[in-house]
């Protein structure tokens, strides 16, 4: 395979000779340097805290909460990043050492080792993201298995209350911050530059850095289980003042969110600049595939909203470590302030976790039904409508929280209105399938499963938007059912659809279709049996986040627990299929689905710089069934192209 850009002669001339022997292992970017630099930075952080406390005359000198925050959760991760090489280029630039702007030696996945170090190729980063997030998905899922075992019967059987609350909190935090959000970022990372005809993302080194922030955040959240007092246990929402008074594990959540949030923001900025400035000639906004639209909208949400959760977690941490009183009512703090700031991020976060899925569904349904996306422009505009409305509904999480009464009806109305653009999308997907020639491959099954399950999640959302019903069902299992219909039936089904859909493009091999379909049906059945009964458990009176419950709910909880183990087991089929197919699946064609978007016009996997020549975009991406229509041409060859009129 030819790459377009090679190391220029100048680049060779300015770089110094490579290190050899032990100096190479110890001093060159890699896991060994990451290891010792992590320890060194931890020691520096430790020293800063101790010296500062000694200088200020504070007792005791060794106070573990500030030491944990500064040394373990801030300095050590920075040391790791520096050691693994995420800052090398910038560090050389900053100290005036010669940099190599044309150096692409860390670009492209040539062998498996390239996936275990910072790599500037968006395709490698995309795979790193997806694999890492699946690891955390499995860990988070296993936690759910443990607390479902506890909940199978009333009373306490396997874990104590602290562990139970910790499991519930870490499960949610991992699934949200380490799985759904970054899994979409990973799929987008792989696909978006290809879809818009770009050689890479706009800031490849920033892209590499934003990936490496992620395992740090995830490790932090999982590690909180081993610190004294146990994992953070105030729920993933971490409401103050409970989170202020919880054991040490809470700061692992406070800081884990900062690292994950920084990763999100950097990726979103990268997406925005890439989509705005790096589209191929002819790729106007109205010719972009809907996944590109979806990531564009999501990235806007991320950059605007994410700083708010960062702020809310810093406030909690300051209250804990520096004895500020943001949320201490006795000292003039404002308890509800936490929830306002938290939900100002965390409601838009629901759309951060859903809009990319909408994009994936549009790609898969159009390609598999062999039809243009119905009402393309309205589909794109409804994404933007959700973006704007998404910022005006946060208080619907707080209808019973003691907010000002006048805030409730306006927030109910805006929440209800979001059903309109969402409805437009659902009906448009249905219309896209109508009169199609539908191929029921695994991605299509997951996309259809998504549409049907998301409708249930959307409808239960209307119940929660209505203030009187919400007053009855908020903080109950009805909410648990709703979020899982939206985030599992919605986000996870589209993530699975996306992984199966682009698996041949990412790995160059085809997955096993039979196992894929089996995985779908087991997941679909297990999912519904697990989560549907939670609706009536909630309306009947079972609160969420309880380790023990009234005996009258015992039967359904047993059903739910058994179904959840079944659901967990279905993931084994997925993992088996992915691993074996990646290792020895049949070689994939360039375009197994006969898709029309640009990523299918290059080899599987694509060349290191995506396109050997820049594509010329000449039409819409979904012109299935239109005679002679083309989305893009290569070679500047425009002969035989029908310039299409705007509809």
């Amino acid at each position: 395979m030819e790459t377009v850009l090679e190391h220029g002669p100048q680049a060779q001339a300015t770089s110094r000779p490579p290190r050899t022997g032990w100096r190479h292992y110890l001093l060159d970017a890699g896991w060994i340097r990451a290891g010792w630099m992590m320890c060194l930075f931890w020691a520096i952080g430790f020293g800063i805290v101790v010296v500062f406390r000694w200088w200020a005359g504070w007792e005791p000198l060794l106070k573990w909460q500030p030491i944990t925050v500064v040394a373990t959760l801030t300095a050590a991760p920075l040391g790791f990043l520096a050691g693994i090489g995420a800052f090398d280029y910038w560090a050389r630039y900053a100290i005036g050492a010669p940099t190599r702007p044309e150096d692409h030696s860390t670009h492209g996945g040539r062998n498996w080792k390239d996936y275990f170090r910072p790599n500037t190729d968006h395709k490698v980063i995309g795979v790193q993201y997806v694999v890492t997030t699946i690891v955390f998905f499995v860990i988070g899922g296993l936690m759910a298995m443990i607390f479902r075992a506890e909940l199978a019967r009333p009373g306490m059987q396997f874990v104590d209350n602290q562990t139970f609350n910790g499991l519930v909190s870490v499960h949610a935090a991992l699934m949200i911050f380490l799985f759904v959000i970054p899994a979409f970022a990973g799929l987008g990372n792989f696909v978006i530059p290809l879809m818009i005809g770009a050689p890479d993302m706009a800031f490849p080194r920033l892209n590499a850095l934003s990936y490496w922030l992620l395992p740090i955040a995830g490790t932090m959240m999982v590690l909180s289980f081993v610190v004294p007092g146990g994992a953070f246990a105030a729920g993933w929402t971490g409401y103050a003042p409970l989170s202020v008074t919880q054991p040490l594990g809470t700061v692992f959540f406070n800081m884990g969110v900062q690292w994950a949030g920084a990763s999100s923001i950097l990726t979103a900025l990268n997406f925005l600049v890439t989509i705005i400035t790096m589209r191929a000639p002819g790729m106007t906004f109205w010719r972009m595939p809907l996944l590109v639209w979806a990531n564009f909208t999501t990235s806007l949400l991320v950059v605007i909203a994410t700083p708010f959760i960062a702020g809310s977690q810093f406030f909690v941490m300051f209250d804990r470590v520096m004895h500020t009183n943001f949320f201490d009512a006795a000292n003039g703090g404002y308890v509800l302030g936490y929830q306002h700031i938290f939900w100002f991020y965390s409601h838009p976060a629901v759309y951060i976790m859903m809009l990319p899925g909408f994009g994936i569904a549009s790609e898969v349904i159009s390609t598999m039904a062999r039809k243009p996306v119905f009402g393309y422009r309205l589909m794109a505009l409804s994404l933007l409508a959700i973006l704007f409305l998404g910022f005006s509904v946060w208080a619907h999480h707080m209808f019973v929280a003691g907010v000002a009464p006048w805030l409730r009806i306006p927030m109910m109305v805006t929440s209800m209105i979001i059903a309109v653009p969402t409805g437009i999308k659902v009906f448009s997907w249905l219309a896209t399938m109508w009169e199609g020639r539908i191929r029921f491959s695994t991605p299509m099954l997951f996309a259809l499963g998504f549409v049907s399950m998301f409708v249930i999640g959307g409808l239960s959302g209307i119940y929660l938007a209505s203030v009187p019903i919400d007053i009855h069902v908020s903080d109950t299992y009805f909410v648990v059912a709703h979020i899982h219909y939206v985030l599992f039936g919605g986000s996870l089904f589209t993530i699975f659809a996306g992984i199966y859909y682009w698996f041949p493009k990412m790995t160059g091999r085809m997955y096993n279709e039979k196992l894929g379909k089996l995985h779908f049906w087991l997941t679909f059945i297990g999912f519904n049996v697990t989560f549907f009964p939670m609706h009536w458990l909630g309306t009947q009176g079972m609160p969420r986040r309880v380790s023990d419950y009234a005996p009258r709910f015992a039967d359904w909880n047993m059903v739910i627990s058994i179904a959840s183990f079944f659901l967990g087991a279905s993931t084994i089929i997925f993992l088996y299929n992915m691993i074996t197919s990646w290792v020895r699946g049949p070689i994939a064609e360039a375009n197994p689905w006969h898709g029309r978007t640009l990523e299918w016009q290059v080899s599987s996997p694509p060349p290191y710089f995506n396109f050997d020549e820049i594509p010329q975009v000449v039409g819409h991406p979904y012109e299935y069934g239109v005679p002679g229509a083309q989305h893009a041409v290569f070679n500047g060859d425009r002969t035989g192209v029908l310039e299409e009129a705007h509809h």
Partner: protein, 336 residues
Amino acid sequence: MRRGSIVQLIAIGVVIGACATVVALLIPWLPPDASEERDGIDLVFWFTTAISIAIFSLVGAVIIYSVLKFRARPDDDSDGAPIHGHTGLEIVWTTVPAILVTAISVISGVVLVENDHAASNALNVNVTARQFAWTFSYPKQGNLTSAVLRLPVGRSVVLHLQALDVIHSFWVPEFGQKEDAVPGQNTSLVITPTKIGTYPVICTELCGLGHALMRTSAIVMQPADFEAWARQEQQALKGPPGNAGKAVFTSNGCASCHTLKAAGATGKVGPDLDKLPDYAKQAGKPLADFVKESIVDPNAYVQPGFPKSVMPPFSTLPADQLDALVQFLVQSSQGG
């Protein structure tokens, strides 16, 4: 579209709608209705359910019809019809959902305003939430306090909620009403019980280790029974110390975390109070001093095996009530 396919589509939709209706009717979705506020909530619930069943049936019908009719044969690699959109349809599926959600919003708004309105003769009850107990006090009934919420039937009640430590949330499923108790803030909730009976009071906001056990009962009684109970409780507080101590024990919710045979308490969150003499020995303090200290400053000595900082300090108890409580605990734990 041919007429035949419309008929098939409608038939599938009707079957799905019928199934969904059966699920809606056979499952006991809502607990028994025991308050006026629940009437309104139930109305909005079923109104929304009817609309939801209609929309779900429509979507389900189109999906199933498409799966059956538009499946490509294995050898067919042709494309579907190049339909790009239909302005009329798009207007319909923008406006119809907008009208439906507006209707739900209007009904919800009316019910909300109605449910927030308390009658002028409302009974006021102060609700104090702390980890992990509820205390209800009745300002017009000589400030008597109770760990169980007792309410007269048919009279509207305003609960004034306060939290001493973290956020808690008051919910009685049969009443349908719920509101958080927030530190540093006064919140309130209106309930008008309509049926005599005993209902669970549940904390629905994660409040720490004992959250799942932060439960008590709401007892709705005849107004005359309620008055009789209030008089009797007021007298008990003034009675001999043993009784007064037991009343303080009960009204401060100690039973939700602790076991004490003399008070019929079976809580398992905190240490077993029947073993107080043993604990005092381990702490190396005289029993009465130890008991008093543990109530006022629970972290001074925490029995091994129990987490620290779970029990809130009860330093605000009036001195006479504190003494009565200590005396009661000392006597009953020594088997007297």
